[in-house]
C-alpha cells in the first residue's frame, strides 16, 4: 500500500493538503487578483468550467490568457455572432480563430474533442450548459493528448439544477456580476483548496464596463417594458 502511494506521489498524481505549489503548468490569466488566487493562473491544459450568467464578462475574463499566437483558438456555439472587431482589438490573429456552429449537442462535444486532441489548438471555448461526467472525462483526456485547454461556459441556473455531481474538471469557477468586474468563487481547483468569494477588478482592462470610472451615469431615459 505504502509502495503504491510512494509510486503515485513520485508520478505527481497525489496532492497533499499541505502542499502549496500546484503541479501542472500555469498560464497567466492577465487579471492580477485571479492569478493570485489561482497561484499563477489558469492551467495550461485541462477542462475549466465557468458557471456564469450570460453577458457579465465571462469571456472577457478568459481572453487575455488565450492570446497565444501560434495555434488555433476555437469557439463552439457562442450565443450569437462572434465579433471580429472585438477579437481584433483584443490582439487575436483572426486567421487563427475557428468558429464552429452545430445543431446537435453531441456534435458540439465531438468537435470540441477533435479540436482538443488534434494538437493544433491552444484553447477551445464551448458554450454548453449540461455535460455528463464521462463526457467531461473524455474532454479532459483529449486536453492532455493535444496539450490544450477547454473552457466550458455554462449559465448558472442549469448548474444549480445539476449540482449533485461534481464534474471531473481541473478548475471550477462560479461568476456573479459585480460593478467593478466579477465576483468570483472557486469551488474546485486541481492541486488547491476551494476559495471563498473574491472580486476581480476589470476596470483597468475595461474602463467603460465598470462603475468606478464611469462617473457619468445617467438615469436611463425611457425603458420600454415589453
Amino acid at each position: 500500500m505504502n509502495d503504491l502511494l510512494d509510486f503515485l506521489a513520485k508520478k505527481n498524481l497525489i496532492w497533499r493538503g499541505k502542499q502549496n505549489t500546484p503541479a501542472s503548468h500555469l498560464e497567466q490569466s492577465g487579471y492580477q487578483s485571479l492569478d493570485e488566487h489561482l497561484k499563477g493562473g489558469f492551467p495550461q491544459r485541462g477542462v475549466i468550467s465557468i458557471n456564469s450568467p450570460t453577458g457579465i464578462g465571462e469571456l472577457r475574463l478568459l481572453i487575455p490568457g488565450m492570446l497565444e499566437k501560434k495555434r488555433l483558438t476555437v469557439f463552439i456555439n457562442p450565443p450569437g455572432h462572434l465579433n471580429a472587431e472585438f477579437l481584433h482589438h483584443q490582439g487575436f490573429d483572426l486567421n487563427l480563430v475557428l468558429l464552429i456552429s452545430t445543431h446537435k449537442k453531441n456534435e458540439a462535444l465531438w468537435s470540441a474533442e477533435q479540436c482538443l486532441k488534434s494538437g493544433a489548438c491552444s484553447a477551445v471555448v464551448l458554450w454548453q450548459n449540461f455535460q455528463e461526467v464521462h463526457q467531461v472525462k473524455r474532454l479532459q483526456l483529449a486536453c492532455n493528448t493535444g496539450n490544450c485547454v477547454q473552457f466550458l461556459l455554462r449559465t448558472t441556473q442549469t448548474h444549480q439544477q445539476q449540482n449533485l455531481f461534481s464534474l471531473p474538471v481541473s478548475l471550477n469557477i462560479n461568476l456573479r456580476p459585480h460593478w467593478q468586474g466579477l465576483e468570483t468563487t472557486i469551488t474546485k481547483q486541481k492541486g488547491g483548496w476551494p476559495l471563498k468569494k473574491f472580486t476581480i477588478d476589470m476596470s483597468s482592462h475595461w474602463p467603460y464596463l465598470s462603475y468606478q470610472k464611469a462617473n457619468n451615469v445617467v438615469a436611463f431615459p425611457h425603458t420600454k417594458a415589453m
Binding site: P53, N83, T145, H222
Partner: protein, 479 residues
Amino acid sequence: MTLWLYLHFPSLQLDSLFCEQTDQALIVISEKNNEVIQLNKAAENAGIKPGMGLATSAALHSELCVHPHNADIEEKKLKEISHTLYTVTSDISLCKPQGLLLRVSQMLTLYKNLRHYWREISAQLRELPFKYHFATAYSPLAASLLSKAGANKIYQNPQKILSILKNRPLSETALSTHQIEQLRRVGIKTLSQLFDIPMAELAKRFNVDVVNYIGQLTGQFQYPVQFYHPPEQFNRYLELLFEVENLQQLHTPLFKLLSYLESFLQERDQFAHELLLQLHQRNKQHSEVISNSAEGDYLAKRWQTLFELHFESVKLSAPIIGITLCATRVVPRSQAGGSETLDLFDGKKAHHSPLELVSTLQAKLGESAVQRVSLNNDNRPGLNSIHSPIQALQTSANTVNSNHVTPDKAFTRPSILLPTPQILTEKAVILHGPERVATGWWDEKKMVRDYFIVRTNSGAWLWVFRTPDQNWFVHGLFC
C-alpha cells in the same frame, strides 16, 4: 516474345455465393436456354452435368437450389479478383466473362523466376473461394485456349508450350462451328495440322477471320489487350445465399467483407474513417448504415463492433439478399487520428495541422458549420464582422484600414453580436455613449443609430442602440 498467364474461373458466380453449408446442391443456369452452366460438388454427385436442361436436373435432385446466371455479378467478382492480384502483379486485363489475363514477362524482372512469380499469384488466389484453371503461353489467345482446356501447367519453354497447343482439337478454339466444319472437310482436325499450313496458303483458302485468329494464336499478329487498373476505393458486394431477416445473422458475411477491407487498407497503409454498408433488400429498397470512427481504423474486429452498435437502430422492411461495403472516407495512416507521437516525458502528443483538423470537422459537420471570422472594411456595426466558411486557412493580411481603429473602439465593442437586434426589455443603466453611427446612405443598409453601453439590473453588459424614432434595441453582449 511476351509471356502471358491466363486464369480461367469456370464457376465464378457459383463460388461467389456466400455459402456455409456445402451439402446443398447448387446450380447456375443460363437465362437463354435454361441449361446448367455451373454446378457444385453436391449437384455433380446427384448426376447433374453441365449443359443439362433445368427440368432434367430438377428431376435428378429434389432440393436443388437454382440461380439464374448474372453477368454483372461475374464482372464484379472478376474485378475483385484483379484487385487482389494487383498487389502482386501489375498488368491485368479482364477477359469477360470468366477470365483474367496477366502479362508475365515484365514482372519477371521483379520476381526471381516464373516459379516464384506463380507462387505469389497462387498464394493470392488461394485466399479466394474461386475455382480456377491456368496456363501460360506466348500469346494471349493461346494462354486462354490452354487455360480453358484445363491445362493447369506453367511453362516458359516456347517449344513445350507449342507442342501442347498443337495437340488441342479445333473444337476448343474460338473459331466458329462453321469455320471448324470448313477446316474439317479439308482434313484439318487439330491445331498442329493448321499450323503446318503456311499463312499465305491459309489466306488464299479461308476467311480473313481464320487467318487473323491463327496469327494471333501463334503470336505472329498483335492481339489488342486493354489493361485494367483497379480504383483506389474499396467497394465490395457480397450476395447472400439465403435471405436474412435478422440482422444478427449478418455477423459472419459482414466480417468477411470487413476482413477484405482490412487487408485492402493494410496493403495501402491506410485507415478508414467512415464506412457505408448498404443492405440490399428483396423489395429493391436499400437501407444504409454509416459507421464512423473518428480515430480511424482498419481492423475488421473493431469495425464489426461499431456496426453491431448501429444495427440496433436499423429496421428492415424486407429480407436482405446482399450487402455492399464501401469505404467512404479513407486517409493515409500518418494522417489518421493515430498520428500521435510518444514523448518520453509528456506521453502521447498529437500533431495535426490546422487544415487536417478543419477537414475532419467539415467532413462530419458540413462545410458551412466551420467558419472563420474576418474584418470587413465597413464602419457599420454588424457588417464589419464577417463569418465565412473556410476554404483554406489563408494567412492573408487583414484588409483593415488602421485609420478607423480608434483606441476607444477597443473598449466599446462587444464580444458577441446578436444576428438580429432584439428589443430591449430589461431595465438598464447607461454607462457609456452615445456613439452615433449615421452612414450607409449609398446602399440599402442605411443606418442611423446611437450606440450605448448599458448594464442591466441583472448585471449583464449590453450594447444597445436607439433608433431615431426612440426605439431601443440590444445589438451585442459584452460576454
